[in-house]
């Protein structure tokens, strides 16, 4: 367990500054998720914490020690890669034990620790297989096993679930959350998928263009987004955001309302719109409206309600749920 502290960390590739000064504290035992669109610098930030990328300026502390210039293996971290990065020529057993064998750990101890890890991740029967004989989910577990076996102070995950199908992804989300609960280790997790961020994180760090937009708990970010970017990024379908005259009429620079906070009715409402498109998801129905006063408006209603394209409806935002910036 260790606290991770970043102080004014910057990173440039040539003339391009990709991380423009990040100050962040990740508490011991916390599950922290870096989230943001492609190219926002979240992976670069993670790689700087791991030591695979050197920061241009600033300091990184892990467990109270300045590790800014330390080798990755001396930082007490373990990393799970998006591509799993399993060694194809080694068996699962050797993959998991690779780090220990490099550290010249005695063979009986390697065997014991690999088997303990395999038990945690239910990899026991697969220990003598090669990575190519495993499914995506099993490979992911081996990659996690390779991290666990070294007892790191901090786990780093670089979009570990993005190569899995939707069903497996949701299963692995639960497994990772359980793992965090069992190990209690600090985990830093990078994803561009805000669902992963919302479901797993204790703390979410939203990054955009190399700067931190907001740090907070998932519900904090959902309910009290600090910027229009965070408001639009967190939540699915994304928040309806309006600028210009619409926002001015509401007395702000940016006005937003989440689809689930729009009430649709046939009889009365603040805005009148025409149904353009209907997405029926079963439990919910997403209704895309064209409102002359606003522009496009998306609303989420119960799955039992039916709408026809072209139908005229009334829409009303829930007053206490509006976002004004």
């Amino acid at each position: 367990m260790a606290q991770v502290v970043l102080k004014n960390v910057k990173k440039s590739f040539g003339a391009v500054e990709v991380i423009k000064g990040v100050d962040l504290t990740i508490e011991s035992g916390e599950f922290c998720v870096f989230v943001g669109p492609s190219g926002c610098g979240k992976s670069t930030l993670l790689r700087m914490i791991s030591g695979l990328e050197e920061q241009t300026s600033g300091t990184i502390e892990i467990d109270g020690k300045d590790v800014s210039n330390a080798e990755p293996s001396k930082r007490g971290i373990a990393m799970v890669f998006q591509s799993y990065a399993l060694y194809p020529h080694l068996t699962v057993r050797d993959n998991i034990g690779f780090g220990l064998s490099l550290a010249r750990t005695p063979k009986p101890e390697i065997k014991r620790r690999v088997e303990e890890t395999a038990e945690i991740l239910q990899l026991g029967p697969l220990l003598d297989r090669k990575p190519k004989e495993l499914s995506g989910g099993q490979r992911q577990r081996v990659a996690i096993g390779r991290s666990i076996v070294r007892n790191p102070k901090v786990f780093l995950f670089d979009e570990p679930l993005s190569n899995l199908d939707a069903a497996l992804r949701s299963q692995m989300r639960i497994e990772l959350t359980d793992l965090h609960a069992n190990l209690g280790t600090t985990m830093i997790y990078v994803t561009h998928d805000q669902v992963e961020a919302m479901t797993m994180a204790d703390k979410i760090v939203v990054l955009n263009g190399g700067v931190i937009e907001q740090v907070g708990s998932p519900m904090d970010l959902y309910e009290r987004p600090a910027t229009p970017f965070v408001a639009g990024f967190i939540g699915s379908p994304k928040m309806n955001l309006y600028e210009g005259k619409v926002a001015e009429a509401m007395g702000c620079a940016t006005y937003g309302i989440r689809p689930e906070h729009v009430v649709i009715s046939d009889a009365e409402g603040q805005w009148t719109g025409r149904v353009r498109h209907v997405e029926r998801l079963g439990a919910d129905t997403i209704v895309h409206l064209e409102v002359p006063d606003l522009g496009p408006l998306v609303a989420r209603v119960e799955g039992s309600r039916t709408f026809e394209p072209g139908q005229q409806v009334k829409a009303t935002p829930m007053a206490e749920r509006e976002f004004r910036h």
Binding site: I77, M79, F81, Q82, S83, A85, H89, L102, R146
Partner: protein, 274 residues
């Protein structure tokens, strides 16, 4: 299979037969004849099969020189291949993975090694200066110098197909750079390593001219040079010459037959990503 495929297949087989198999049969038949019969250089079957006698005679010629030649050729081939694989793989790996200003300069040297024709006399002069002329290890270094450029290109292309994540995973696991190379990268380069071993061992084993220039001396003879034993201005024992050709052709032929699939795999594996 369509009719067109069948016809082109048959034509290709026929061409291959004429180009590769007929000469081999010719050598085999003439290696089984007596000296007088072989001198006629005909395709006729021998009147008396002397295959075994000719074989013994070739092996025993000049106090079993062929066996010494096999020993020398194998030492040179094994030594040179070992160095080519190790250095080729190392340089290819570093050139592909580490981006530095020096890469272009090093790459220039690699290409120069491929393009510039070897100059015999200056090379002998250098070898003499280093005390390596007429030595097997001198010959090994010459073969390494001639083959290294090609090997580096093959290894470099192959390394680009190995994901960089593997290097990084090993670094995070605590591997030093040499451990990343020897424990992760080198084992993954098996296909291209087999290619290099096969292609270069055939080239080096079959090399006639370089040992002729750089490795004179009876005790330094290599297999290809033993062909001179049976050919001179006034006496030529063509039957023994053909037998000798047969004996020196068989080892590379076997290597080629058993490894030809891997050669193609290694050559093309690097071709996807440049």
């Amino acid at each position: 299979m369509t009719r067109r495929q069948l016809i082109t297949g048959l034509i290709s087989l026929a061409c291959a037969f004429v180009i590769f198999v007929i000469p081999f049969i010719f050598v085999f038949i003439n290696a089984s004849k007596s000296a007088a019969e072989t001198a006629r250089l005909s395709f006729a079957l021998p009147q008396e099969w002397r295959f075994w006698q000719n074989l013994v005679e070739v092996v025993q010629a000049r106090d079993y020189q062929l066996l010494l030649a096999y020993f020398n050729s194998i030492v040179i081939t094994v030594g040179a291949i070992t160095l080519l694989v190790i250095f080729g793989a190392m340089v290819g790996y570093v050139l592909q993975r580490r981006k530095s200003g020096w890469n272009k300069v090093i790459y220039g040297f690699v290409l120069a090694g491929l393009m510039m024709p070897p100059a015999v006399v200056p090379t002998i002069w250098v070898l003499q200066g280093l005390g390596l002329f007429k030595t097997l290890h001198g010959m090994i270094l010459i073969q390494v110098a001639y083959g290294l450029g090609f090997c580096i290109l093959l290894f470099r292309a192959f390394v680009s197909t190995i994901p960089r994540d593997l290097d990084e995973a090993a670094i995070v696991d605590g591997a030093k750079p040499w451990q990343v190379f020897f424990r992760v990268i080198l084992p993954l380069m098996k296909p291209v390593t087999v290619t290099v071993i096969v292609v270069q061992s055939i080239t080096i084993f079959n090399d006639f001219t370089h040992p002729l220039y750089y490795l004179p001396g009876k005790e330094n003879v290599t297999v290809q040079l033993t062909l001179y034993n049976f050919q001179s201005q006034f006496v030529s024992q063509l039957n023994l010459l053909f037998m000798n050709i047969l004996l020196v052709t068989i080892p590379p032929l076997l290597v080629f037959i058993f490894f030809n699939r891997q050669i193609v795999a290694g050559m093309t594996a690097g071709g996807v990503k440049g």
